[in-house]
Symmetry: C2
Subunit: 220 residues, 2 copies
DNA sequence: ATCAAGTCTGAAACTTGTTCTAGATTAGCG
DNA sequence: CGCTAATCTAGAACAAGTTTCAGACTTGAT
């Protein structure tokens, strides 16, 4: 068993995806307790209900420790979202969408995710508000969420090697997805409206798929 | 000297609230000072630099008064955005976009707005973060901003009587616009990328020309 | 002019995110 | 085992948004 290597864990952020964080079992357990408490509190009352002192107490960790693991409330909630996204990606993989066109499949996938969020609207509120409120210090984590979302959409499209135009369409779909969620969460758009918006933006996909589904010729 | 005359909010501000109470001149002046201080502080350091105590001091108003005028920091910043949007709408009206298609004109308009925001990135940060962070208690004001944005886009399209499909497209464009701004502000997307996203989503407009008897590209 | 109701002010208090400190605990190591 | 560095804990302290309150000032009506 290789001894755990300490790579100057002083100034770097503790729990991140990219570089392998050398966490012991107890640390991993702490991290998990924190994320669980975060999701639980968020499910109750949304963004405001996730109070750092409560998260700390609820996960049996000192406040200072909580901040060592997640340097801000937004970091914590974005990490919570990463966690949930992973779970959802697994779920979606099991039953792939059945539409005929890529646009249909993407819309179906997003609507399925949307229905999942509707079951926990407060949790959705906390995560989405954190995502859009995040400033530059959270960019790496937010970017990771964005990449994960992109993967899910590309999965639904059934593409391995998207063209630049298709990536643009996917980005616009993600924009619409996030913003539509916000309008729904803040009570300014109905569920039906979100559905329409998603279906509308998904038509963009058809624009980027002229006739040939797979065209290896790609130039950047 | 006669008592202060109540000023109807019609000259410079088209109704924010349906039942907006008439403000005296001194009150109108206070409101204006507050909005000015808000914009000024925001221009310096963005969302975080707009501190309620500083806004109060800077606009020569007690903290309690500030909160009477704007019940929260987010309310204040959304109102600041309404103010700026109005100004921008005026500016845009003077030089309408010159594209051949509706999609081109909308993209040009949004890019023009984007360039204006680039000149005051901190102000943009404060306003956009407030907009997307706003909870239900700010819905009416946020909705007002949204309607104003819609008007600007429909103006650019040159439409008086948009079809439901066109309104959907406009909503999706707005979603993309807000979300793309956020990714730019948080340093996760370049200016070029925002431009591409805007141009991409504007193509949706071309997809929606069902009800009009007039056929493709024609200059009005 | 005068009074009642509403508004503004200054200051303190409260809330919650965040930081800091001193001491206890743990992990890796010879 | 005993050492050292890192980590964890409890708790105070700080920062900024928000609320509250008593008293002074305005406003509108008599």
């Amino acid at each position: 068993m290789p001894a755990e290597v300490k790579v100057e864990a002083k100034s770097a952020r503790p729990a991140a995806q990219p570089a392998s964080p050398p966490l012991t079992e107890r640390q991993e357990a702490r991290r998990r307790r924190i994320l669980h408490a975060s999701a639980q509190l968020a499910s109750r009352g949304g963004f405001d209900a996730v109070q750092m002192r409560e998260v700390a107490e609820s996960s049996q960790v000192a406040l200072g420790t909580l901040y060592r693991y997640f340097p801000s409330k937004v970091h914590l909630l974005v990490a919570t979202m990463q966690d949930q996204l992973e779970h959802m990606h697994g779920t979606l993989r099991k039953k792939p969408p059945a539409g005929d066109t890529a646009a249909e499949r993407v819309a179906e996938t997003l609507m399925r995710a949307f229905r999942a969020l509707q079951r926990e609207p407060h949790l959705a509120d906390a995560m989405v508000r954190a995502l859009t409120f995040a400033d530059r210090s959270v960019s790496p984590e937010v970017d990771q969420v964005s990449r994960q979302t992109t993967v899910i959409i590309l999965d639904a499209m059934g593409l391995d090697d998207p063209s630049p135009a298709q990536l643009s369409a996917v980005r616009v779909i993600e924009h619409t997805w996030h913003s539509a969620l916000i309008t729904w969460l803040s009570g300014r758009a109905s569920i039906a409206q979100v559905k329409i918006d998603i279906e509308t933006v998904c038509r963009l996909i058809d624009l980027t798929e002229p006739t040939e589904p797979t065209e290896p010729t790609e130039k950047l």
